[in-house]
Symmetry: C2
Subunit: 265 residues, 2 copies
């Protein structure tokens, strides 16, 4: 059943179809409220790049007209996307696509924090940047076929001149063509901001698994500590729109003057 018969003026935009199914194969409920369908359409738009990070999406009234629903329904869809930090509402101005070119977003993904005071001078040194065929574990984490090309990146992050973070980063090769060590060296913004601007890949969410481990020889040398020194080991999988994994990152953090902060809600 199309909704448009209730509205005299049809747009040429795709019209949302009411879905009131309660029963489906398997018997599991599959009922999708209108605002969830709108949310899915907005997500598609974001994924397709119809609206780029930092840009405004159309106003609520405009979206309501486009999708042939009430403003309240659009609002509820946007509310959820804003709660998930995909969109950002600004009263009087509009609703904007979240971007990693912002301190706020950055701290959502950078949890290592100085014990005292505010962050300090930070620097990144690229150790390595090469393409290779994905080992089985990497392929599995990134939803690739083992043997697909992946990009492997290693770097050291320093604060106040002292090396603090070791990152070992794996990316699907197909999505990051042209990423080289030179390009990274000349890059000043956070890595995720670069991914977003240069490769159209927006990281939206991440899962982390954290352990305490003893530094091995390679880690000890790079972090300027002795072998066996306790390190925070953080394994992260980052996702874009639609929960598609786009990065596997293995980090080792020195936590003498820093800690990993977290909030349990």
């Amino acid at each position: 059943m199309l909704r448009s018969f209730m509205y005299p003026y049809m747009s040429d935009q795709p019209t949302v179809e009411r879905n009131t199914d309660t029963e489906r194969v398997g018997g599991s409920a599959a009922f999708s409220p209108l605002y969830q369908q709108i949310k899915a359409l907005l997500l598609q738009g974001l994924d397709r790049g119809e609206w780029k990070p930092g840009e405004a999406i159309p106003s609520e009234l405009e979206l309501a007209a486009r999708f042939q629903v009430s403003q309240g329904t659009v609002r509820k869809a946007i509310d959820e996307l804003a709660a998930e930090n995909l969109l950002l509402r600004r009263q009087g101005k509009g609703t904007f696509v979240a971007t990693h070119h912002e301190a706020k977003v950055r701290f959502r993904f950078l949890r290592l924090t100085p014990d005292d005071a505010e962050p300090s001078a930070s620097g990144s040194r690229i150790l390595d940047c090469r393409r290779l065929r994905a080992p089985a574990d990497i392929a599995a984490a990134l939803d690739l076929r083992s043997g697909d090309t992946v990009l492997n990146l290693r770097r050291v992050l320093s604060f106040n001149e002292s090396p603090t973070i070791l990152d070992d980063i794996w990316l699907p090769g197909a999505s990051f063509k042209g990423l080289t060590a030179e390009l990274l060296a000349s890059n000043r913004s956070p890595l995720y901001a670069l991914f977003e601007s240069e490769y159209g890949v927006s990281m939206v969410r991440a899962d982390e698994k954290i352990k305490a481990v003893a530094a091995n020889e390679a880690q000890a040398e790079l972090l300027e500590v002795s072998v066996g020194h306790p390190l925070l080991q953080v394994e992260r999988v980052s996702f874009t729109y639609g929960d598609r994994p786009m990065e596997l990152r293995r980090g080792a953090y020195l936590t003498e003057r820093f800690h990993y902060r977290n909030s349990l809600n």
Copy 2:
């Protein structure tokens, strides 16, 4: 300005006053929407124990009548409390006060997870339970005067018979009168469930600071590892309603077969 003049039937419940202030001393905006005022009232009710954990709060229509606002306004207040996990909506049944007597809530606060498979047989052994005058750092964390009585609790948690977690817990003495080692030993449920049922203290949120450290002698012996073994050190401050700190917990986790899981949103 009272709202009640618009409604012929006044209840004897406190009536919400509209607050449309836009200017205040200092010029900073201090405008509070109606639904935020309702939310504050509900929070007070929770804090006072008007509705206990696990119980249902009154229906939306009933609250709307009590506070002399529309159902939609009550709904928005409840929406926020549900988003913060203080309330739990169940379609067809009602809205319930969150309780730690539930697996879901428990895993919000217990982040250490087995690397494989599902949790296993777990046990708690109380090492120590004593009252003393609060050291300065503890007092500061719990918003007490240094010298106020605090309760100090130490325990070992084991999974599959192997000691895995060391906890050093500090509680404000005034809120936990009668808590003894015997009582703890006979307790089978999670600690926060006990706090809730026996002392009316609901933990609602927590902040954690995580480091990797080397095991000292005491830790090494209790966890059955060698001195210097890497441990995950987790310092947690837990809060009740109104962001009042009610627990300081220092944990040391063995992470050979377990990891701390986290989601970045």
